[in-house]
Each structure stands twice: as C-alpha cells, then as structure tokens.
C-alpha cells in the first residue's frame, strides 16, 4: 500500500442558507434562491474536488460541540433528517452518508497517542449536525465519497483561544498521521465562517438579498486582510494574527477547523485559491482551496 496523503484542504463554511438557496431535493423548505455568489463559489470548488478524486472527505464542524474530547463519527452508514435548531425554517435536510470508520478509528487512535481525549460516536440514531451536512452538501452533493466527521471540542472557548487552538493543532497532526497510514487520498474541509458578527433579525423572506451585507465594516476589513494573506500564501503570518482576528472579528475559526486543517497539511506557505466570498446574515464567508497536487506537494490521482 502506498502512503496516503492529503491532496487538498478547503475552507468550506456552512451557512444553511446556501443549501436553502439551492433548493436540493433533500431539503424541505423552498426558496427563490439567494446567496448566488457563494453558491457559485462552491460550484467551482466542486469541480476542483471532482478532479482531485479523493477517497475520503474529512470535515470538522463547529456545530457538533463536544466537551469531553474530540469525537469522530463511527457508524458505517448514517441516515436521518437533520433539522437545524437555529434555522429550522431553512434547513430540514434528509441525509444519508457513508463513514470511513476505519480512518475515523485511526484518527482517534493517533489523537489519543498524542495525548488528546478522543471518542468514536457509535450510536446509529445520531443526528448529524447541520454544519457537517451543509459543508458536505455544498462540496459534494452526490454524497458518493465516504466521510470522516470530527466534532469541535470546545477547548478554544473553555481554555484560552491559544490553548484551544494548540489542541486543534495536535488533532491536525494526528489526522495527518492517520491519513498517511491509511494509503488514502484525503481532502480536508474546514467548516468555518470568518467574521461571525451577524444580524439579530431575519428578513422576510430570508433570501431577500437587498438586506444582505457585512454586519460591520471592521469585520469586513478583517476578512479582507485575512483573505489577502491567504491568497498570498502568507500562512505563518495569518496564524500569527489569528487570535487577534478571532477576538476582534468574533471569527468562527476560533472553533478550530481552520487550525486543524492547516496543521494536518503542515502549514504550507501556499497561495490559497479564493473561489468566492459573500456574507450570510452579515457573517463573512470565504470558499478557499489549497490544492497540494497543483503545488506539487501531493500526487495526482
């Protein structure tokens, strides 16, 4: 078996509004569209993912919050209906997915070996959270690639931001080791929004794009600064200012997915490709790709 590798990482935020705007058959509510620039960004990301031909998608979601350790979906096949507790009017999605349990177990074992508390989620009645589902749907609506789902341990909120993100760094290292040992081609999906300031009232209808804009200018400026750094491949600098960004822009990257993904990839000083940026109820969302195959850091399929 050849060594497995990470072939790409995507910043792939999860506003359920994007699924709602797309009107896929799995989602009950119907819309008149909305948030098209972000949905078109995901169309580009989908094409790129298709070319990468991964064996597995790993997604770290801030809406599966765990207190005791880092959890991994550990049931071979999960199905059900996931209703977003925050936006139930927008997201009532019938999901069905295959889990790469072998890789999930390996990630958990490697995490434990590095000193993390890890746990496999073995309950077949578990409702997969809307963050995981939205990111996966927007990246691969065919649902034909097995998945490893990771919870967001609340360490960045329970401990200091820095301490929590150090833990996510270790989780990333563990993930990389497990992927390498698996022999599989893996794509990492960091399900995070950037600036997370948002409106407190929802327009009627929710897809009224005349009401959509950044919640505040400072947050928007922060998002542009971070995106510019990432587009320039200044990854170390991005991580140097990440705690300040989190603090001042209330950035959702605090929950750890972004750090987990970059730690797993080894923080390559690699220019990210911005597929698109847009706001959702005022929050800043960027769909970005770090293609390690194009950069010569991973093999083509």
């Amino acid at each position: 078996m050849s060594q497995g590798e990470i072939v790409a990482g995507f910043l792939a935020p999860h506003p359920p509004h994007l699924v709602y705007g797309e009107n896929p058959p799995q989602n009950e509510p119907r819309s008149q569209g909305g948030w098209e620039p972000l949905r078109w960004a995901y169309e580009r990301a989908r094409r790129s993912l298709d070319e990468l031909k991964p064996d597995v998608l790993l997604v770290h979601s801030p809406h599966w919050i765990t207190q005791q350790g880092h959890h991994f979906l550990g049931v071979p096949h999960l199905r059900g209906k996931s209703v977003d507790p925050i936006f139930p009017n927008l997201f009532r999605y019938t999901f069905e997915l295959d889990v790469d349990v072998e890789l999930a177990e390996a990630c958990a074992a490697e995490g434990a070996a590095l000193g993390l508390t890890t746990k496999l989620m073995r309950n077949p009645h578990f409702r997969v959270d809307y963050g995981t589902i939205t990111t996966l749907h927007m990246m691969r609506p065919q649902w034909d690639i097995p998945v490893v789902g990771l919870s967001a341990n609340n360490s960045p909120y329970y401990l200091t931001t820095e301490e929590g993100l150090e833990e996510m760094d270790v989780l990333g290292q563990a993930t990389r080791r497990a992927i390498e040992a698996s022999g599989k081609r893996a794509v990492l999906l960091a399900s995070n929004t950037l600036c997370h300031y948002h409106f407190s009232k929802e327009p009627e209808p929710p897809e009224d794009m005349s009401k959509e804009h950044p919640e505040n200018m400072a947050g928007y400026l922060w998002d542009m600064r971070i995106i510019e750094l990432l587009r320039a491949g200044r990854v170390r600098e991005t991580f140097d200012i990440l705690p300040q960004f989190i603090e001042e822009a209330f950035a959702e990257v605090k929950s750890g997915a972004f750090t987990w993904m970059f730690a797993a990839m080894g923080y390559p000083e690699l220019a990210g490709e911005l597929h698109g940026y847009g706001t959702v109820i005022g929050t800043g969302n960027a769909v970005m790709e770090w293609n390690l195959v194009k950069a010569g850091l991973a093999r083509a399929a």
């Binding site: 207190q67 209906k81 925050i86 009232k201």
Partner: protein
C-alpha cells in the same frame, strides 16, 4: 397568580441515562422528588426554559402540538437514546409569542417535524412529566439575551398564563458551576472539579433557600463569572422573572457533580 411552583433542574443527561452511578443517581432521585412536588401542585402546563436550546436570531418557542422523537446527546451518545413525546400548550405558547414585543424581543414559533428538542428539555420532561400529565411551553435560550431580557421573558410568559388562569409550573433547566473534567474519569468518583466552585455553588444555593432576593441578585454576577455558571445563570433569571422575584420558600433536593460541573435540583413555592 397562576404560577403554582417552580423548579431549577440540571440539563445534563447523566442522571437520566446513568442513574446507577451514585453521584448521578442522587440527582435523579432529587429530580423525582421535584416531580412529586410539581404533581402535588397540580399544574396544567410546564413552562420550560432550557439553556441547551440555543437560538441566535429571535426568541423561539415550540408550537408543534405534539413533539415526538428520539434524541442522541452530542457528547454522551454512548449512553443511548433519549426518546421524547410530549404535548405543547399551543394556546399559551401562541399568546406569549406576540407578547414579547413589549420588551422589543421578536419571537417565533417552531413547528417542524424532526425538530431536535434539546437534551435539557427532554430530561426535565422525563423526570417531571413521565406520565404525560401536563402540556409544555418551551422557550429557547437566545445566546445574545442577557439576564434582564431573560427575566422579562419569564415575566411575560407568566403574565400570559395568568391572563388565561392557567396553572403552571415554571422550570429552569441548566447547570451551576461550569468547569468540568475534560478527560476520562472514574465516574463513581465524580466531584465538583474546583473546590472554589463548590463553595460558590453552596453559597448561592443557601441564598436561594434563604429567599433574600437582594443578596442573591447581588451575588449572581460574580458567581456567574467566577464559577463559569452555565449561560450566566439565565435559567434562574427566567424563573425569578416568572415568580416576580418573590417566593415563599425554596428547597434544595439535591446538589452534586455532573462530570465536574455543578448541578442542583431546587423547588420554589410562590
């Protein structure tokens, strides 16, 4: 006044799913005692505010006539499923929704098949309403609401119940001190993880029992900050709002650890 009693309950599933573990079993027994006290007050409706039902846009209230399903806790999935099946007091819930405009809070009803009722609400209903005697009004915890807004929501819900002469028990579901064990422990040896949190919890429970509202309210901000109290103790704000900040007596039926965090079962007599 139509509030016949009130309760403060922990929202952790551990006493419900592992009552065989002595530290958690004691809290389960205490919640059953609270259930007996509620039953003796003969409410028609339980108004439940659970810290674990998060909302960020608007204030949400369940408005589906009957909530049924199977929930698996996000953190404690290894302990099995939490089935739920309870009726909503639709008339009261639908009356509260427009009434919150009085404090500039926009409320919305939630009436969707498959809606994920939170663990805290399910556990509270299981202990207080296992025979399905009462209907429920269930309020979300908007993460951006502070103590005073939550207090106002409790007051408004109680006022609407009063307007309809509805006999209601108000149930605040949430924890005390919020520090917890992050790794594996021997659950039989569970304890409040920090001694200073234990002292804070006991002090505040004593203040609740003493019924000295002034001292209690004075202590809450420091308690919430220093003991990292679950959601700033907003579940108590909801209860006190519903009770009009006055009660004839309060009794602590149980207090103990929930994987290092604090939980207490308290009943209030209006």
């Amino acid at each position: 006044m139509s509030i016949v009693c009130a309760c403060l309950l922990p929202g952790s599933p551990l006493p419900y799913v592992r009552r065989d573990n002595p530290p958690w079993g004691a809290l389960a027994t205490a919640m059953e005692q609270a259930g007996e006290i509620v039953a003796a007050c003969e409410p028609e409706t339980l108004i439940v505010y659970s810290t674990q039902w998060f909302a960020v846009l608007d204030q949400l209230w369940l408005t589906r006539p009957r909530m049924q399903g199977l929930h698996v806790d996000e953190n404690w999935h290894e302990y099995g499923e939490l089935p739920f099946d309870f009726a909503i007091d639709l008339e009261l819930a639908e009356a509260v929704i427009p009434a919150t405009q009085a404090v500039e809070v926009r409320s919305k009803g939630v009436d969707y098949d498959g809606f994920p009722v939170d663990t805290g609400t399910i556990v509270a209903n299981a202990f207080l309403n296992s025979a399905d005697r009462y209907r429920l009004v269930v309020a979300s915890n908007n993460l951006y609401h502070d103590w005073s807004t939550t207090h106002a929501l409790g007051r408004i819900a109680a006022a609407e119940a009063d307007r309809r002469a509805r006999r209601v028990a108000v149930v605040g579901v949430g924890g005390l001190s919020g520090a917890f064990f992050r790794g594996a422990i021997d659950i039989a040896e569970d304890r409040i993880v920090r001694a200073e949190d234990d002292a804070w919890n006991r002090r505040v429970l004593d203040l609740i029992v003493a019924g000295d509202g002034g001292k209690l309210l004075e202590a809450v901000p420091a308690y919430a900050a220093e003991a990292r109290v679950d959601m700033g103790f907003k579940h108590l704000a909801f209860i006190l709002g519903a009770l009009g900040d006055r009660y004839a007596g309060a009794e602590v039926h149980g207090y103990g650890p929930l994987y290092g965090a604090g939980g207490a079962v308290v009943t209030f007599r209006p």
